[in-house]
């Protein structure tokens, strides 16, 4: 894999941060949020700031923009020097003039970052109105031009469109256009692609690079995704707990990380190398899905009109095996999961769990069968009842199925140990745990039912890589122990590669390709699968082993 290896030390230095300290407003003695950050960015350079959530990446960027939430955070020391202009001591007016002209920023979630009630054209034009004295028509012309530059189709229509009428990619392009319309010296991009599908992500990354080359902009790129870093960075700064623990040119960092933390971070990164196929047991399939179909809305005859979220989905899973459904948002992968769980009622096809057809059962009939299949959701913060003690959550299911309370409690305690949580967790409430821990609890809750099938719907997507790796480990462990069949829904091919025996690739509600992970991921037959794989950032690099992949397929990607 080729990395950027330009030497930019000669180029003029746009941003110089020295010993920056940010803390809670009015509480100088409290634990600082940023502690002595040093940072240099030169013109044309792409400087990546990586780190796990809470490491202070975003705070750094906001501090640079002078946008720290007043009543929460404040700069308590150090300088942020923008080519001789001291930002930390600037007046609001000065900052206003600075923004968009010299520093611009794009954010993670283009949907929320754009004002939903203003036409996107206006929102770009507003920048010109604020900072230039262009005439109405000139401003509009300039706006259309920049929209062209970010490769928006049919700019005249989009100019007059509202954010909700555009796709995620288009919105992010608007954000970029808005940021670059006055071509600033520094562009701060805070997780600009995290909310996007891989294919779109790739395009946006390309776009940023292109714009950067065209305008010679310096880019401070914030991300948690080592893959992305590998793709775009000149220089990388690794952040942990408000400090920069290591800074190095990209290649150096990926091949020879000095810091322990960096190593840990890298080893956790999953790569596209599929796990070695496990021998398929000859036991009967635990889950068999036959021609599953789900159509939303659409009048009396559901098939007529309506949105076909899933159609003609067929696969099965044997005990102890893991099948992954991969696809981008809107591919219908979650719909399938929810149909199987009967959280929604499929409009067609069969779902056979442990020998019973459940797709057409009434909710009441279904009751007794529920214990056979359980689910783990994506968002660890919402999948546990915040008002219930962990114990109560863990016991809910067993008690529903007639287990005496005492027994259920005892079992819950064991499960907690299994998922590596302290026993005293029993009496605590979810908000007292971290995301990873909550996900463990959720898994324990599902396992408590001793199900034959476990559905994991994007179960690790919301977690930091290191945690992600651990949870994946836990799932695998649980599977081994109880021989559970697992249906693993994910948008991330690299994760799928780590855990799945078989893979189903979905697009627009249809299965485009399915088969053993090894086959599908190494020599995909369908173009869509191929595009997914190609879009996977850093796909040629084996982060865990600090070297390129190529020919290393055989080697198993370590997961923890």
């Amino acid at each position: 894999m080729k990395f950027k290896s330009r030497d930019l030390s000669a180029a003029r230095r746009i941003l110089k941060i020295r010993d920056l300290r940010v803390g809670l407003s009015g509480r100088p003695d409290a634990e600082p949020v940023l502690d002595g950050i040093d940072l240099d960015i030169h013109a044309g350079e792409t400087h990546c700031l990586v780190g796990e959530s809470g490491s202070g990446k975003s705070v750094t960027s906001l501090a640079t923009m002078g946008l720290l939430p007043k009543d929460a955070l404040e700069v308590q020391g150090g300088q942020i020097d923008l080519e001789g202009f001291e930002i930390t001591s600037a007046t609001p007016q000065q900052m206003r003039r600075l923004r968009a002209q010299r520093i611009a920023m794009i954010f993670q979630e283009p949907m929320t970052a754009l004002n939903p009630v203003l036409r996107v054209g206006e929102q770009i034009e507003e920048v010109l109105a604020m900072h230039t004295d262009l005439s109405q028509s000139d401003a509009k012309a300039r706006t259309l031009d920049i929209m062209e530059q970010v490769h928006l189709p049919d700019v005249d229509r989009i100019y007059a469109a509202f954010p909700h009428q555009l796709s995620g990619g288009q919105r992010q392009r608007i954000m970029i256009a808005m940021a670059l319309v006055l071509d600033p010296d520094l562009l701060i991009a805070d997780e600009p692609t995290t909310a996007l599908d891989v294919t779109t992500q790739l395009q946006i990354l390309k776009l940023i690079e292109e714009m950067q080359e065209r305008h010679g902009t310096a880019v401070l790129f914030i991300t948690h995704d080592m893959g992305v870093v590998a793709e775009i960075a000149d220089t990388v700064s690794v952040m942990q707990k408000g400090r920069i623990v290591e800074r190095a040119p990209i290649r150096t960092l990926l091949t020879a990380p000095k810091e322990e933390y960096t190593r840990k971070l890298l080893t956790a990164v999953p790569n596209l190398a599929p796990r070695a196929g496990r021998a398929a047991p000859d036991a009967a399939a635990v889950l068999r899905v036959e021609g599953l179909e789900m159509t939303y809305g659409g009048g009396w005859f559901r098939t007529a009109g309506g949105v076909r979220a899933a159609q003609d989905v067929t696969f099965d899973i044997a005990p102890g095996r893991t099948l992954g459904i991969v696809g981008e948002s809107g591919s219908g992968k979650s719909t399938v999961a929810r149909c199987i769980m009967r959280l929604i009622d499929p409009t067609g096809g069969e779902v056979v769990v442990a020998g019973t057809e459940i797709a057409q059962m009434s909710r009441r009939q279904l009751g007794p069968h529920r214990k056979h299949f359980q689910i783990v959701f994506q968002d660890p913060y919402r999948s546990l009842n915040p008002r219930w003690t962990v114990a109560r959550s863990l016991c809910e299911g067993p008690i529903n199925f007639g287990t005496p309370k005492a027994e259920a409690m005892a079992r819950a305690a064991e499960l907690l140990e299994l998922v590596e949580l302290p026993r005293d967790a029993m009496t605590r409430y979810p908000h007292q745990f971290s995301g990873g821990q909550r996900q463990r609890i959720a898994i324990a809750r599902a396992v408590a039912m001793q199900p034959d099938l476990l559905v994991a719907d994007e179960a690790v997507s919301a977690l930091d890589v290191s945690v992600q790796a651990q949870v994946l480990g836990l799932l695998e462990d649980v599977q081994k122990r109880f021989g559970i069949a697992m249906l693993f829904i994910t948008h991330d091919l690299r994760v799928a590669a780590q855990i799945c025996d078989d893979v189903v690739v979905m697009q627009k509600g249809r299965v485009v390709e399915q088969g053993a992970a090894t086959d599908v991921l190494t020599n995909p037959r369908h173009s869509y699968t191929r595009s997914l794989i190609e879009a996977a950032p850093g796909r040629n690099w084996d982060f865990a082993n600090f070297r390129a992949l190529g020919g290393a397929q055989a080697e198993q990607g370590t997961t923890a």
Partner: protein, 295 residues
């Protein structure tokens, strides 16, 4: 409310929410002060019979509209009754009406709202009826209801409650509708929990926080509406002094004996002010969005 299953935890949550304030939601001295004043007024009202110098009903035709004196701290009303005694005793009834109305409407509204929110079948009909009730101006409805049952304490409370119920129902319903989308509710379904169990143990607790807030507002407005009803001649009988009917009786004496309106008015306003302040604080603390932002 506390004996309902599941609510024990939510009550705990509410408390813990109140105590462990999120960093941003620093409560000023305001609420503390409010609570203090409120408690003072409540206690003073409840204990009124113990210390008021005169029987609030004892009339003295020869001592009408007397100015404040050592014997009559705030003077006497048109019946020669001791204003101080009446105002203090009046507090009990007014507060009773406020709290009563709050509890009744919240309880009734909660029940209807839960059902409407969860069982689509009845939802349509119930909500139509609620809309209709909401469309009738509260005061007019209340007057009519009082005319129906006579202005006894009970009927005044009912009259104030009926117009409030729909608002509570809507609140509960909306909370239920959003909560039933929560993954943990879906998890509960997956765990085979029965509908009633989900309703009472998972969904209902979500409604309690907003209901507590709503309750305080109802309580406050109930006290006000009672006053207005008295003003329009549809209030509690003058034999049972309330801040409302004391003011109503005194209203035509506004210029020659402002005390008749001023004192009950002052206490009433203070009371409502405090209740509302506490309500606001509760809302800020219990507001999930707030939590998300701070925590």
């Amino acid at each position: 409310m506390t004996e309902l299953p599941g609510s024990r935890h939510s009550a705990f949550q509410v408390l813990s929410g109140m105590l462990s304030l999120p960093a941003g939601a620093r409560v000023g001295i305001g609420p503390g002060l409010a609570a203090l004043v409120l408690v003072a007024i409540v206690v003073a009202s409840i204990c009124a019979p113990l210390y008021v110098p005169h029987d609030p009903l004892a009339m003295d035709a020869m001592a009408r509209l007397r100015p404040p004196s050592s014997e009559h701290l705030l003077g006497t009303d048109p019946y020669g009754r001791d204003i101080f005694s009446r105002v203090m005793t009046g507090g009990r009834v007014s507060l009773l009406i406020g709290v009563g109305a709050a509890i009744v409407s919240v309880t009734v509204g909660l029940a209807i709202g839960l059902v409407a929110g969860f069982f689509r079948t009845v939802d349509g009909i119930v909500m139509r009826i609620m809309d209709s009730l909401m469309a009738i101006p509260a005061i007019l409805l209340a007057i009519a209801l009082v005319a129906l049952n006579g202005p006894s304490l009970g009927s005044v409370i009912i009259a104030i409650t009926v117009p409030e119920v729909p608002r509570v129902v809507r609140l509960v319903r909306s909370v239920v509708l959003s909560a039933r989308e929560e993954p943990y509710v879906e998890a509960a379904i997956a765990l085979g929990s029965s509908m009633p169990k989900i309703l009472l143990q998972h969904l209902m607790p979500n409604t309690l926080a907003p209901l507590i807030v709503q309750g305080t507002y109802i309580c406050a407005s109930a006290i006000l509406i009672e006053a207005i009803l008295s003003f329009l001649g549809a209030g509690v009988s003058t034999e049972i002094p309330t801040w409302g009917n004391i003011m109503a009786e005194g209203r035509s004496y506004f210029q020659i004996k402002p005390g008749l309106i001023f004192w009950p008015g002052l206490l009433l306003s203070l009371c409502i002010l405090c209740i509302n302040l506490l309500g606001d604080t509760a809302r800020d603390l219990l507001d999930p969005r707030m939590k998300k932002r701070e925590g």
